[in-house]
Amino acid sequence: MTGFRLDKGGLIDRKAPLYFTFDGRAFTGFAGDTLASALISNDVHLMGRSFKYHRPRGVISAGSSEPNALVELREGARKEANTRATMIELHDGLVAKSQNHWPSLEFDIGALNSLASAMFVAGFYYKTFMWPKSFWEKIYEPIIRKAAGLGNASKEADPDKYEKAYAHCDLLVVGSGPAGLIAALMAARSGARIILADESSTLGGSLLNENEEIGGMSGHAWAIGVIGELGSKSNVTLMPRTTIFGWYDDNIFGAVERVNDHVLEPSPYEPRQRYWRIMAKRAVMATGAEERPIVFGGNDVPGVMTAGALRTYANRYAAAAGKSVVVFTNNNSGYRTARDMNAHGVHVEVIIDSRKEPNVDAGGVPVIRGGAIVNVRGGKRVSGVELADHRMIPCDAVAMSGGWSPIVNLMCHRGAKPKWDERIAGFVPPDVGDRFVAAGSAAGRMLLSECLADGARAGTLKGKTPAIPKCRDEAFAVTPLWWVKESTGKAFVDYQNDSTAKDLPLAAQEGYRDIELAKRYTTAGMATDQGKLGNVNAIAILAEATGRTMDQVGTTTFRPYYTPVSFGAIAGPFVGHHFQPVRKTPLHDWADELGAVFVETGLWMRSSWFPQAGEDWLASASREVLATRERVGLCDVSTLGKIDVQGKDAAEFLNRLYCNTFSTLDVGKARYGLMLREDGIVFDDGTTSRLAADHFLMTTTTANAARVMSHMEFCHQAHWPELDVQYVSVTEQWAQMAIAGPKARATLQKIVDKVTLDDTGFPYLAAKEISILGGMTARLFRISFSGEHAYELAVPADYGNLVARSIMQAGEEFGITPYGIEALSIMRIEKGHVAGGELNGTTTAGDLGLGKMMSSKKDYIGRMMAAREGLTDKNRQCVVGIRPFDAADKIRAGSHILKKEDAPSMAADQGYISSVAWSPMLNMWLGLALLSNGRERHGEVVKIFDGVRKIHMFGVICDPMQYDRENKKLHA
């Protein structure tokens, strides 16, 4: 042995040295190392400081349960805090730093907390920060916030990509140890679709770590053979570096694949991580078992680790955790470590077995029976151990084994609780049915032969379970020892939270006897490792303190995620401008060419205004209004929902959906329609045209298009399945544009084929299929939202830009102007047309001044409820127009309306302003408001109170229609 790297053995590639730094110091490791094994082989054991007492800490485990060796991995924007050194695959150029210390890992002022440890007992926060109350916000909270957490997050945006994906299989095998491998093999040979996932970088599970013998060869060689066979099959997907983190309804599993966490920088074409949802017909939990620490004084000093971890570092990574090892065990695992270390040429001082009469082959190492380590000597590294009889044994590493806990987490994610098994002294998984079964040591089978038999059974989807290969078994026996009470030093139950053995009896004494309460009170089992190592010890100590059995105390609730999942993986690709899809209208390019500024409306990008040099939005929108009202304007209205409604009963269907009647509508005509919800409140509005006796084209507001469609589906399927009616969204088929203004007719006439657009050929509310530009099929509607003489023209979407450009050309001689939805909004407010501000889910048809539309001759959705007293009360807030009393004042949407003499109060509130606009026609701000009994109050001077800006002014209530009240322009 040179240094702490064993001369031979291990699954590392000694021809591939890798260079990395830890806390700024340069080190060398090999391909196949983890950061933890590479540091150990370089005799670095101090890897971090603990959370509360800032105790020096090293590696305890060799896997994903690691609570101590948490480091900041990488630098800059790619920095990742609290990363487990035991799971980081070493790669060239890796940079890692230790956490939670100041000024340095070696010398940390925070360690002074230890001196005050009498204060930091269970419930410390609750006891200390209760009083004085005034201290909470200014003093306590900032201190706690500063102390909380371990590593520091990068404040920069993550430069890497993440993605999501779905997978399907007949059998998902979680874990690739002996049970998982043979389960996958049996199932794969039957031709079923298999996914085999393992959190480690290499498949093989415990066969990578242990000296086993299967089928006359080493366990590792057998694993390579099986993995080779699996890998050659097209029905098998192997997923190393993939943690199955949760089990959900209908046998769906969540997983994170660490695609590129093991490289310095991912390829620009590949994600760092992939978040999987795996839909498995059946699944096998072959997750293995976790070795528990024993609770004794100084069981956290760097150099103390689980017996299995110690031999894993030697067997798999050829790294010796020390030159002189003491083993402390209550089961046979410690002996295995002693024998393996001996075989590697590492001196094992003694095995201290808490059992009085163990019967195990110690491989020549002396055994102290019925003994216990009381305290570990050493600060930043083990220097020796002290036994109950005060004997001192010098050593530089301690291997401890408190028994094995089946890793039952996944099977408990949907609420089932594990059961205590006295024989193995561990919680075994619950029976959750045959779609998800446990196999191997995860199911409490502690012998290799049992694991293989169990796995083979679980993987046999049909027929008889084939014979399994012969193997060598390592005897299993355990006698629980949870806590060495003679310890005088701190004995940790939960390393990550610095919870000690004394905290749990204290919690019980103070009334927190329930394991869930004790967890919160002591913090044992919290934080990133969720008590993977400490929970069973905590339950046992609490059971003893309260005189209950393990089953009576039970476990805390198991929830996903099994190990921490990054926010990047959860967000997937849906960040930045991919947060939601962008929806563009068929006239987008046309508007873009004319310099439109676009605004998001739901997912749509709508042209909002078309500024010319030097114009702000208001100047632009005002000019667009003036041009439209004086000449002609063109506006993209393609986003309105369009639904084709056809069938023998189409008219009847519409009669029932709308509060007004559509069966009387003539073919070739359009009608404004109002839809109510079941509760009598207005749902949506729009014009609907009759293209043929059995064919209507409904339009909806942009915002409600999808909602109206599902409303129709529901009504048809649930209420009136007898109707012969079919409907489908045709929103995207048509590019639709409004052409409005005194010159609209003249402009359109130039591109329309054959039809004469006069009041006989194409009267108000005409809706017809026509032809334009010498042969293009189009639909023309004479409808108006602006109050001008106006048309809406719909053409097949691929022609949209072409037609818009043609209309601009045709209208050039009349001074045509493109206008956006800001100008559209100004014009509808001038005309008192209701929109989103008024159709806000609280208003009735009556409130909107549309009460007369509600038919009394037929039934329709919302009719009954609309007649309720509260919905017909004359004091309801209804739509009115409002102007500032002083025309120079600016009124604002959201301002409340009070009687002229009242001071602002909830009781005095009369209503509020729902929409405002600067009217270029009237040269003042004007708006629409919802005002109590408003229709009777036209002409009243009211107080307008803007509670946000704390200003008030006076206003005058008027008719909602404030411009062209005789509708002369509409019918011009």
Binding site: E163, A167, R583, P586, V728, E732, D798
Partner: protein
């Protein structure tokens, strides 16, 4: 009414031909935009589902894709012809301009699509000609298997640019070409 105007695909300037993404030899997938295309939504009138299905089955040259209960997308026939042929059997709506169809094909096609759809596209259960209504990257997609390793993805026109961007990004790791 046949017309002689130039149809412009919303992906005309977006789906640029060429070879993109990682280079692992042959491209993992090949993408193309089917344009111009003729599409009609066809929904059976009450009680006519069987008659409609029969009429569609025997219609030569028409591509019929399932698109919901008693509902189909009918491709490759002019809309006037569709309406005439199915009169009394179905309500028909022209969608030729309303949807954009992207064809994706190649050895890695399922690895790309599984990043978006929860539908199991394994050949054992999703035979050629089968369609599904699904969502990929928050966009509603009508998906049809059209060949051994070939699928057509039909989306609302307005989403096509956004969807193309997402889809090509998901194909990058395998290398893709646009034809």
């Amino acid at each position: 009414m046949p017309d002689n105007f130039q149809r412009v695909s919303p992906l005309a300037d977006i789906a640029i031909q060429g070879r993109f993404g990682a280079d692992h030899g042959a491209p993992g997938v090949t993408l193309s935009v089917r344009h111009p295309v003729l599409i009609a939504t066809v929904i059976a009138r009450k009680g006519k589902a069987k008659a409609l299905a029969d009429a569609l089955k025997s219609w030569r040259g028409a591509t019929v894709q399932w698109a919901g209960a008693e509902q189909y997308f009918l491709l490759d026939k002019p809309f006037d012809e569709v309406r005439k042929k199915l009169e009394g059997l179905a309500s028909c709506s022209d969608q030729s301009h309303g949807r954009v169809i992207i064809r994706i094909e190649g050895p890695k096609v399922r690895q790309v699509l599984c990043k978006g759809t929860p539908v199991d596209l394994h050949e054992s259960g999703f035979e050629i000609g089968k369609s599904a209504l699904t969502q990929m990257a928050h966009v509603g997609v009508h998906l049809t298997r059209v060949g051994r390793d070939a699928f057509e993805l039909s989306v609302f026109r307005g989403f096509s640019e956004s969807f193309w961007e997402w889809l090509t990004e998901k194909a990058e790791e395998f290398g893709y070409q646009v034809i």
